[in-house]
């Protein structure tokens, strides 16, 4: 059961022009950065890993969901559409916002050639995720032992951690970054797939 309070939208979200691209470039820059801030906070609150380009969640997990069903969708509401004031942003504007996030390292298209696949929203940078997992392993005294991916992502010990239930592909990216940073070694199965990691 997920009983956290609903997301609190900023006052700007109920301001109708927030949904029309502003012609004044300085105003637009401020509008854009407010959209980026909103998307990050919204995805963090709802634990959305992958957002569809139309603003609905593609992959999201509640912290308490221990089933392996990662595709469950908490809502079909789009962040880009405000029912209350009957305003929604046009696809070219949302695309510009998402691409800005990509250029800032705050998001990444799952497949740049096929936007329908969705976009990873990094409400923490990969770097920050890597540090968070590293610190957790260290603080719980699990360094130098081999941990399976399941143990980190789904294990009971980490079930109150923010990375709990992280999207699998995103999780692999974090692990690969940890290896690159020299924080961990990957342990591979006979078939070459990643079986676990060992923090060194």
């Amino acid at each position: 059961m997920d009983n956290k309070p609903p997301f609190t939208y900023p006052a700007l979200y109920d301001f109708p022009p927030f949904f029309t691209k502003q012609p004044n470039s300085q105003t637009w820059q401020s509008q854009l950065s407010n959209w980026v801030k909103l998307l990050l906070a919204y995805c963090k609150h709802n634990r959305i890993w992958i957002l569809s380009p139309d603003g609905t969640p593609l992959t999201a997990t509640s912290n308490d969901d221990d089933s392996d069903n990662e595709e469950f969708v908490p809502s079909t509401e789009s962040i880009f559409n405000n029912e209350k004031i009957q305003r929604s942003i046009k696809p070219d504007m949302s695309l510009e916002i998402l691409n800005t996030m990509v250029s800032q390292g705050k998001a990444k298209w799952k497949d740049p050639k096929n936007h329908k696949m969705g976009i990873y929203i990094y409400w923490y940078s990969l770097e920050a995720w890597a540090d968070m997992i590293y610190d957790w392993i260290e603080n719980t005294g699990q360094q130098n032992s081999v941990l399976t991916i399941y143990e980190i992502r789904k294990g009971e010990l980490g079930h109150n951690q923010e990375f709990h239930n992280m999207d699998m592909d995103m999780f692999i990216s974090v692990l690969e970054l940890m290896v690159k940073k020299g924080q961990a070694q990957l342990i591979r199965d006979e078939d070459g797939s990643i079986a676990g990691i060992k923090v060194v």
Binding site: F15, P17, Q22, P23, N24, T27, S145
Partner: protein
Amino acid sequence: MGMKKLGLNSFNNISQEQKQFQDLGQSFLQSQANQLETQIQVFQNALISFAKQHREEISSNAKFRIEFSNVCRSFNVDSLRVLKGDEESRKGASKNDTFYYGLGVRIFQICQETKDINGGLLSVSELTKVLNADADPVFGKFSREDAMKSVEYLKQLGDEIQIVTIGKKEYLKTIPQSLNTDEVKVIEVCGLMGFVSIGLLRDNFGWKSYRAKSVVDDMVSNGILWIDDQDEHERLFWDPAWINR
């Protein structure tokens, strides 16, 4: 190899003991944090009553004031609010330059920070909302009068901030150019409805369309109005002061 087994066996990796240790550690940290919190609160209250007793000295002695502000900062206490005091003790207090200059600087910062959104025209009611966003009930709120007086103080330093009254609303203006009468009219209407449109200006004030269009277009390019193309009839021009109404 000395490694743990992979696969199903590894699910038993988390021993009950390990989990208990973690729980214990967490409850220990929690109680430590609670204790610290109480201690800080006690100290914050002491700072406030100290400020009440020594307000005169704090504002007259620069060296003392700086030291006091430093102590406040390290305990996460807003020295401005402490110096402001509560309503009661302030009635008898003499005019406090330190307070008004300090608040003036903060108001100037808020004007700068919101300029990209409102084009340099900030309503005083919105300003007091921002100033009191994290208001602590102990100190009371910054009032409109506090804000206006601080702006008067800033005027001694230059003309960057001006107070303009449009309709029944007061605004702080940080743009150098003055507003012409048509622009003032537009802002006045916005103060009532949040927006104007060319049709609305034409029908209510008898303006020709090109006059209305040139006024609002100018205001958009100055960042004072935002456009909204999703009304069913015509483009609306919104006053950003409406965001936090």
